[in-house]
Every structure is written in structure tokens, then in C-alpha cells.
């Protein structure tokens, strides 16, 4: 067995008196993928930030090659061969690919001027070594896709001779095909002897990639295991400290009459000739690769990008949805994909966020009735089990799962008939995830019709009554729960349907 490249020993760290890391030990060997697991708030991000030099630990040691090191900044960590590919990619949109890779450590000519020829040719070599032949080194980064930007980030890390690469939720915003490509890059890096710290909520990836896995809970070290020693169930119970009965608690409810009927709906390139029906008490899962038009379909139904042609019927009556305000008034709610940007106004109170879509209802004329608003907010927080100090707490202070519950609460206030959930459990820890799934069950029992978009196939298969699969802006398959297998959904996700066939 090879010696670890870096060893973290008894690391602890506190913020304003709260211990977020308690004597955690962790190590990474060259040429291994070491997965780091834990619920949100378990201390993964803090541990990563300590290792990448963003935080200085209160106690414990960082040892590299037998020597204790102190990282005062990210610069020190980089100099010691530790690089990070962040969850929110840290690139410069207006600069070229080559500049992004070499910014901060440009090769220079003997006279001290930046050697742009070398910058470009070395970037080309790095990208080629990642099997990324289709990227122009002179393109501005703003023109690249998320997956391409990620490869630029990796090239940037390699350009600094990284021995350890930290990848924080690298697949969170990638589609299936890009995930596969990323995984092959990770394997290739491992072959080259790079040690990789891989943080992800997605179990299948961890089992496909990791050599070892370390689980943290509540800031404390729980276990480090060889991947062959554990099952998915073991890991989940290590993470939450209890065993979860069923990952996807599907509630069986009688399916009622059709609420939403869509016929030949069109908007641009991503929503083409879409027809489907959604019934009372039904969860209709929507699967598809990124760019398949899933979110665009939701945005069209929600009036963000109104349909250019086609028919939408609500309870049998044709309707026109030209704006989110229209959609809301018709009883269509949308819990968006990007919680921080689209879902919440983070500096504002939980109370104010919850009543944001229904501010008219708690107002008399133009005046907000404060007591009424309070009552609604308190009830909603209780109903969804949002863990918070009180409803006046700024929503930005909550954990991801609780933030998501606030977004859902906001839209439940509108008493929707149709609830569109776009990636409802992305970036949410295992505990909160199953709570959100229970809320969905509760809602369909009350007769709400749910359209659920998700990139996580197990979630789609586990929660849906029917699965609608999209590819290239069109529906390629509609599958009943009993027949929905990963293979059939997967095939439909990559299928192409020509305009004539429809």
C-alpha cells in the first residue's frame, strides 16, 4: 500500500463558538479516489476548505511528506500540490480558456513578459491529455457549457502540478453523458497518480469511482471504509446515524381526473410539439438529459417563456399562460431549479419569503396585515417541518434542505392544483430529501397533481406514477410505473424523434 500524500490529523474548527469540525482525521494516497460523504452540515465543506487553505484550523495538523504544513491561503495549498475544482466554478467569463488555465502563474520569457505562445500550446496539451480535443483555447469561457468549464478547471489544476485534486459535487449540474465523461477523466487522473477527494451526494458515482470512502456526521469522523466493504444502505445509515427504511416512500393514492392537458405545445428549440396529461393525485416524473427541454417545458407552463403555439387546458378549459402571475392565479406553481437564484430572496425573512407569491392574500388593499402574514408563515413552517430559529430569521441562514422547504411552502400558500418541482432534492442531504419526498406524498393525497423534473434516475423511478422522457425538446416516451426500468428510460433519453414521426 502506498504512503498517503497528505494526512489530516485531528482537525478541529469552530465558528462563533460552534464546533463544526471535531478532531477529524483523513488522508489521501496518490492514485486513489477517496470519497467524502455526509449530510449537509456534516462538515465536508469545512474540511475541504481547511485542506485548500481557505480556512485555518483551530487545532490539528496537516502533514505532507512527513512534514507539518500551515496553509495561510489557497496559494500555500496550491504550492503544496493541492488544487480544488469548486462546486461553483471559479472561472473568468470574459477571459479565454488558455488565460483561465494559466492566470496567476503565466509562463514568462526571459525578459519577464508573458509567453503567450507557450500559454496557448501548453493549454492545448493539457486539454488533449483530458481527451478534450473539441475546445478552442482562444474561446472566451462565457461561451462554454458547464461540463466544458469543468474540464477547464481541471486543466487549470493540472497546470499547477496538482498532486491532490479536490472535487466538490462535480456532477451536481452535469447531465448523464457529461457525468460519464467526467468519470472517465477522473479514472484517467487516478492512473496518472493524482489523488482525488470526491465529494458527492450521488451513491452510484461513489460506487463506480471510489477506492475508499470516509463518512462525516455532525462535524465528527464516523468511519473510513474500503468501498468493497460497504453497501449503499450501510453508507446511508452511517451518514444519518439511523437506518432509513425506504429511500423513496411512494404513497399510493387513487389517481383522479385530468387537471392539466397540454397539446402540441411549442416554444423555441427546447419545447417542440409537447403533448401530455396530468391527473389529480399523480406524480408525473420528467426525465431527460440537460438540454433536453425539461426545464424549458416547466418555464413555458409557468409563463416565464410563454408558449408560441399549442393548447393548454386546465380542468378542461383552454387557458393562456403569459406570465408567472397568470400561472399562479390559475393554480400552477413552480419550484425552480436554482434555489439560491430563482427560488429565494436570501437576505429576507422566512416569513417574507413564504408569503412572497401570495402577498395579495395577506394584504388589505395595498397594506400588508402583519398578524395575518405571521400566522400563515408560522403554520407553513410547522407543516413542512422547517428547522429555524423563528420565522423572522433570514432564509439564507438555513441549510439547503430547509431552504428548499421554504420555497415549497411559498408555493403551497397559493394552494396550487398543479405543482411543478424542478430538481426538488438537488443539493439536499439525505434526511431532508426523504422529508421532501414525504411532503410530496402528502400533497398527492390531498389531490395536488405533481410534475417532477429530476436528473436523478432512482428518484424519478422511485417517486413517479408515470415517467415522461424528453430528448432534444420532444417527448420520446411515456412509461407507466410498472414498466419504468432504468434501461427503458435511459434509451428514451438518448432517442431522437424526428418532426415527421410526431
Amino acid at each position: 500500500m502506498t504512503e498517503p500524500f497528505v494526512v489530516l490529523k485531528d482537525i478541529s474548527k469552530s465558528f462563533v463558538g460552534v464546533k463544526v469540525l471535531k478532531d477529524v482525521s483523513f488522508d489521501v494516497r496518490p492514485g486513489e479516489v477517496h470519497a467524502l460523504l455526509g449530510e449537509n452540515g456534516a462538515g465536508k465543506s469545512t474540511l475541504i476548505k481547511v485542506l485548500s487553505g481557505l480556512y485555518q484550523p483551530d487545532g490539528g495538523k496537516i502533514i505532507i511528506g512527513g512534514e507539518e504544513k500551515k496553509f495561510a491561503s489557497t496559494r500555500d495549498a496550491t504550492a503544496n500540490g493541492i488544487a480544488t475544482v469548486y462546486q461553483e466554478l471559479l472561472l473568468f467569463p470574459e477571459l479565454s480558456v488558455a488565460e483561465n488555465v494559466f492566470l496567476g502563474h503565466y509562463p514568462r520569457t526571459s525578459s519577464g513578459i508573458i509567453d503567450w505562445t507557450t500559454v496557448r500550446s501548453r493549454t492545448r496539451e493539457l486539454l488533449d491529455s483530458l481527451d478534450t480535443y473539441d475546445l478552442d483555447v482562444d474561446s472566451k469561457v462565457l461561451t462554454l457549457s458547464v461540463a466544458q468549464r469543468q474540464r477547464v478547471e481541471i486543466a487549470k489544476a493540472l497546470s499547477r502540478d496538482a498532486k491532490i485534486l479536490i472535487m466538490d459535487e462535480p456532477t451536481a449540474s452535469l447531465v448523464e453523458s457529461d457525468v460519464q465523461r467526467l468519470m472517465s477523466i477522473v479514472r484517467q487522473l487516478r492512473e496518472r497518480g493524482v489523488g482525488i477527494i470526491y465529494v458527492s451526494h450521488r451513491m452510484p458515482e461513489i460506487f463506480a469511482l471510489a477506492d475508499r470512502v470516509t463518512v462525516l456526521r455532525d462535524g465528527a469522523f464516523v468511519a473510513t471504509k474500503d468501498i468493497h466493504e460497504v453497501t449503499e444502505k450501510d453508507l446511508v445509515s452511517l451518514m444519518v446515524g439511523r437506518s432509513i427504511e425506504s429511500l423513496f416512500p411512494k404513497v399510493e393514492v387513487p389517481i383522479g381526473e385530468t387537471v392539466l392537458a397540454v397539446k402540441n405545445l411549442n416554444h423555441g428549440r427546447h419545447v417542440q410539439d409537447i403533448s401530455f396529461e396530468l391527473r389529480k393525485g399523480e406524480i408525473l416524473g420528467v426525465a431527460g438529459l440537460v438540454g433536453s427541454g425539461r426545464t424549458e417545458l416547466a418555464l413555458t407552463l409557468f409563463g416565464m417563456t410563454p408558449a408560441t403555439s399549442g393548447e393548454i387546458k386546465l380542468n378542461g378549459k383552454p387557458v393562456r399562460i403569459a406570465s408567472p402571475i397568470h400561472a399562479r392565479d390559475l393554480g400552477i406553481a413552480y419550484v425552480p431549479e436554482d434555489r439560491g437564484l430563482q427560488g429565494l430572496v436570501k437576505p429576507m425573512a422566512i416569513r417574507q419569503n413564504i408569503t412572497m407569491a401570495t402577498i395579495d392574500k395577506v394584504s388589505k388593499g395595498i397594506f400588508i396585515k402583519a398578524a395575518e402574514e405571521m400566522k400563515h408563515a408560522v403554520a407553513a413552517v410547522k407543516r413542512l417541518g422547517v428547522r429555524c430559529r423563528d420565522v423572522n430569521q433570514p432564509v439564507g441562514q438555513l441549510s439547503g434542505g430547509n431552504q428548499q422547504k421554504v420555497v415549497i411552502a411559498k408555493w403551497l400558500e397559493t394552494a396550487p392544483q398543479v405543482l411543478i418541482l424542478d430538481e426538488p432534492t438537488r443539493g439536499v442531504d439525505v434526511g431532508a430529501k426523504s422529508e421532501i419526498h414525504s411532503i410530496m406524498g402528502e400533497l398527492v393525497r390531498q389531490g395536488v397533481a405533481i410534475l417532477m423534473i429530476s436528473s436523478e434516475l432512482p428518484e424519478v423511478l422511485g417517486m413517479s406514477d408515470r415517467v415522461l422522457v424528453m430528448s432534444a425538446g420532444r417527448i420520446t416516451d411515456v412509461i407507466a410505473r410498472a414498466e419504468a426500468t432504468p434501461e427503458r428510460v435511459g434509451a428514451a433519453m438518448t432517442a431522437h424523434k424526428s418532426a415527421e414521426a410526431a
Binding site: 413552480y334 427560488g343 437576505p347 412572497m356 397594506f367
Partner: protein, 314 residues
């Protein structure tokens, strides 16, 4: 970002205002007299009206640099409509105010429809509206308004300057709207996260157009008061008033990035500036010297509140 830190800045400012008032009244026995204070109120009305509307705009994360030019344009048009077109003066003023309001509406349309950043959009219309004022006036000024017109800018109602009543009413109405209504809530939501506001079914575009239109209206009303106060119209009226208004708003605790701010803060900021101007001129400092002090106070006030905020969060 919570209520406490919000009030902290305003409390700080109110205390500062109190200290300044005390010092100034010791400096000169002319300062703390009713007639002087009322007269100061008269002088700050135009900036005040504009600053109130500006508070809303800055709270949404926007800015309106064109208000001074709208003021100039409205002033010129009041004179031209009355003297050259021959409208009765009330109608001329109303028509000019309508044009000024429309100018604000145009700002709103450029910003929402064409998605031009507010700073750029109003920078462009600053040049355009001032240019129109200059072009229309051809450097001629209009004087000789009827005596009754000066009641607005130079007279009193119930012993208080006429225009100060307007400012008072505007301040009360505006602070109620910003603090207690869903319109105010929408303003803060837009300032903190415009995208989320839109996704929550708030009418972001309509609110913004309404605010820039209101800003144009406030500048236009200020123009008529200005004309009445100084008895003449010139095309360079109101040059630089946008900076005075923005200074008052920012000094009053409204975040230049939006999402935070109150009318009360703006009014305190306004009073502080006016008190300093007046106090210094009574103490024999020349008018322009006071401008320097206002600049220094602006920087210092933000510096101090920044320090407080940082020590509070850590």
C-alpha cells in the same frame, strides 16, 4: 442585514444629527430660530422630493442620474408653455410636469424593455434631457411670473413654507408605502434578488417602470417649486442635484446595491446635509466650503457604519 443592523445606522445618524444641531446652535444664535429652520426646510424641498423617489429606486438596486436634467427640462417647459405657447400658467406647469413624468417613464421603458443597466440608461438620458432643455431654451431665461405663483416657492401656509408641506406629505406617504405595503415589499424583494422576485410572481417590470416614472414626476414637481422659489427659469437648473439626492439617500442608510433602506433614513440624511450647509454658512464658511464637508461626512458615515456592521457580524 436584519432589522437591528438597519436601525443601527439610522440611530447613529440621528444621534449625529442631534450633535450637529447642538453644536451649531451654540456656534450661532441665529441658527436655532424658527424662521431659520423653516427657511432651511424651504431650501431642501426640491432635493428632498427627488431623494424620496430615489430611495425607492436605489432600494431596487437601480439608480436615476437623469433627475437633474428632468428638473431642468420641466423648468424650461413651464416657462415656454406659459410665455411662448400662451397657456395659462397652471396649465403650463401641469403640462410641463406631464412631460417630466413622461421622461421618467421613458427611463423605465429603456431599463425594463431593452434591459439597459440603469446607470447607463439614465446617464444617456441625463445628456439627452439636458440637451433638450438647452436646445429649447436657446439660453434664454423666462421671468416675470404672476405674483400668486410665488406662493408655492416663497410663501407660507399656516406659518410654514408651502413646499415644506408637500415634502412632509410626500415623506409620510412614501414611508408608509415602503414600510407597510406590498409595493414596498416588492421593492425590497427586487433589490435583494430580482430573479427570485420574478419567479415568485411579483410584477418586477411594472414596479420598476412605476418607480422611474415616479422619479420623473418628483423631479418635475421639484422643478415647478424651484422656478417659483427663484422667480426665473434657466436651462441649467438642477445640474448636479442627482448627486445631492443620492448622497442623502446613501447617507441615510440605503444600500447602493439595493435591498435595504428607509425613507426615515433619507430624511435624516437630508436634514443633516442641510443643517451642515446652513450652520457653516452662518459660521462664515463660504457656500462652497460646505460642499466639501458634506462629501467628507458621506464617506465617514459609511465608513463608521461599515465598521459597526463588521464588528456586529463577527
Amino acid at each position: 442585514m436584519n432589522l437591528k443592523s438597519l436601525f443601527r445606522h439610522e440611530m447613529l445618524l440621528a444621534i449625529l444629527l442631534a450633535i450637529v444641531l447642538v453644536i451649531l446652535s451654540f456656534q450661532s444664535d441665529k441658527f436655532f430660530t424658527v424662521s431659520n429652520l423653516l427657511n432651511q426646510g424651504r431650501l431642501m424641498t426640491e432635493t428632498g422630493l427627488i431623494a424620496i423617489a430615489m430611495t425607492f429606486i436605489i432600494a431596487t438596486g437601480g439608480i436615476d442620474l437623469s433627475v437633474g436634467s428632468i428638473l431642468g427640462l420641466t423648468a424650461i417647459l413651464t416657462g415656454v408653455f406659459w410665455q411662448n405657447v400662451g397657456l395659462p400658467l397652471p396649465l403650463a406647469a401641469a403640462a410641463a410636469i406631464a412631460v417630466g413624468t413622461f421622461a421618467g417613464f421613458v427611463n423605465g421603458i429603456i431599463i425594463t424593455r431593452f434591459r439597459v443597466p440603469p446607470l447607463i440608461a439614465t446617464l444617456a438620458t441625463l445628456a439627452l434631457y439636458r440637451g433638450l432643455a438647452e436646445g429649447i431654451s436657446q439660453a434664454r431665461s423666462v421671468r416675470g411670473y404672476p405674483e400668486w405663483f410665488y406662493v408655492l416657492g416663497q410663501g407660507n401656509v399656516l406659518g410654514v413654507p408651502t413646499q415644506l408641506w408637500l415634502l412632509l406629505i410626500a415623506a409620510v406617504v412614501a414611508s408608509i408605502i415602503l414600510g407597510y405595503t406590498r409595493w414596498g415589499r416588492t421593492v425590497y424583494a427586487i433589490g435583494n434578488n430580482e430573479v427570485a422576485a420574478r419567479f415568485s410572481g411579483l410584477s418586477v417590470e411594472r414596479t420598476k417602470v412605476a418607480l422611474y416614472t415616479a422619479s420623473g414626476f418628483a423631479a418635475a414637481v421639484a422643478a415647478v417649486i424651484f422656478v417659483s422659489r427663484v422667480s426665473t427659469t434657466r436651462s441649467d437648473m438642477g445640474t448636479g442635484i442627482e448627486l445631492d439626492a443620492i448622497t442623502a439617500v446613501v447617507l441615510g442608510g440605503t444600500s447602493i446595491f439595493g435591498g435595504r433602506g428607509t425613507i426615515a433614513g433619507t430624511i435624516i440624511g437630508l436634514c443633516l446635509i442641510q443643517a451642515l450647509k446652513n450652520g457653516l454658512s452662518l459660521a462664515g464658511v463660504k457656500g462652497d466650503g460646505t460642499i466639501m464637508l458634506i462629501g467628507a461626512v458621506l464617506i465617514l458615515a459609511i465608513l463608521v457604519s461599515n465598521l459597526f456592521e463588521r464588528s456586529g457580524t463577527r
